[in-house]
């Protein structure tokens, strides 16, 4: 079978780039909506900010697992 297209080099980096898309979108949504909520109701700042940070932490964990996995499973 002849190879029609081949990708060489640091494929792990490409994989991590792809894996970071989802959490990136998630963190964007969390902070975007959080800022919107604070703008609508500034007196609820503390409550909103705390929940914003919680949501951020959950979304961020996915990107970080993606970062760590290549080291766990090697090249």
């Amino acid at each position: 079978m002849s190879v029609l297209a081949e990708v060489t080099g640091s494929i792990g980096s490409v994989g991590y780039g792809l894996a970071a898309i989802g959490p990136g979108i998630g963190i964007g949504i969390v902070f975007g909506l959080g800022v919107q909520a604070i703008a609508r109701q500034p007196e609820a700042y503390n409550l909103i900010f705390r929940n914003m940070i919680l949501g951020f932490a959950f979304a961020e964990a996915l990107a970080l697992i993606g970062l760590v996995m290549p080291f766990v499973y090697g090249t």
Binding site: F58, I65, V68, F71
Partner: protein
């Protein structure tokens, strides 16, 4: 390469006796996190992160000992600082997240927050320059303590059966339960301690790697292999090292806060009445 890595606090001292002039740029890797034992106590090789952990814990204990040894009604000096920290944990984390029952968990949350923050801060302290929490053992044990605590608290509050029943949300269509039960158990009891510790570990790991990367870039292009074209890259490396150090200071405090916040929210959810 070895010399700069030593200068950046990246490699354990004594790994390289000969200095190799690198022909091309090598990005730092996992080697940053592997330490040769400094000395041995019996069968245990004591490495730099372990020494840092003991020294920083000692400093932390000394600080809060000084702050709270003889508490005055009108606080003076270091007691002011200690009380600001205590009130932050009690009001912003324990009472806000757990509620009225939160006060009895303040000692745990207080210790967690300040130990993690101090361990993280070691990343930017000259000479130390290594975040202790970027060795997975430290966050893993801290997450295990939190896990045992919230499971114990939940079983004590609801009984064994009640605790396992409380993990499942009620009021859903019956057909969806075979799907939701394994997902809820897996995410609450198995994945939760894992992500709790990996979040802290990976943040510190990535942050240390980033700072080291820019520091080594600057060294390589400005000192080791200075070229006309590489000069700009070296300058960017210097600036980015400074920017990333400032960013790391923010991330370190934020990660300590998030770890404590999540610990409080796990305990709070375990205490909650079944819904």
């Amino acid at each position: 390469m070895t010399a700069i890595a030593l200068a950046a606090g990246a490699l354990p001292a004594g790994t390289g006796t000969h200095t190799i002039l690198a022909e091309e740029f090598h990005a730092p890797g996992l080697g940053l996190f592997e330490w040769e034992p400094l000395f041995n106590i019996g069968p245990v090789g004591v490495t730099k992160p372990m020494v840092l952990a003991v020294v920083l814990s000692g400093l932390l204990i000394a600080f809060f000992w000084a702050a709270f040894r003889r508490p005055q009604i009108v606080p003076r000096g270091v007691q002011n600082v200690g009380e600001v920290g205590y009130l932050f944990i009690r009001d912003d984390i324990a009472r806000n997240i757990i509620g009225k029952k939160g006060d009895q968990y303040v000692p745990l949350l207080f210790a967690l927050f300040f130990f993690i923050w101090t361990f993280n801060l070691a990343s930017v302290i000259p000479i130390a320059q290594f975040p202790v929490t970027s060795r997975f053992g430290y966050p893993a044990v801290l997450a295990a303590i939190v896990y045992v605590t919230w499971v114990g608290v939940g079983i004590k509050a609801h009984g064994l059966g009640g605790f396992f029943k409380a993990q499942i949300p009620t009021g859903l269509p019956k057909a969806i339960y075979p799907l939701i039960i394994p997902i809820e158990y897996a995410s609450n009891l198995i994945v939760r301690p894992f992500t709790h510790s990996v979040r802290l570990f990976a943040n510190m790991f990535a942050g240390h790697l980033l700072i080291a990367l820019f520091a080594i870039t600057a060294w390589h292009f400005l000192v080791e292999q200075p070229t006309v074209l590489g000069f700009g890259v070296g300058i960017i490396g210097v600036l980015m090292t400074i920017v990333m150090t400032a960013f790391e200071l923010l991330i370190q405090a934020l990660q300590a806060f998030i770890f404590t916040l999540l610990a409080a929210s796990y305990i709070g959810s375990a205490l909650e009445e079944a819904h």
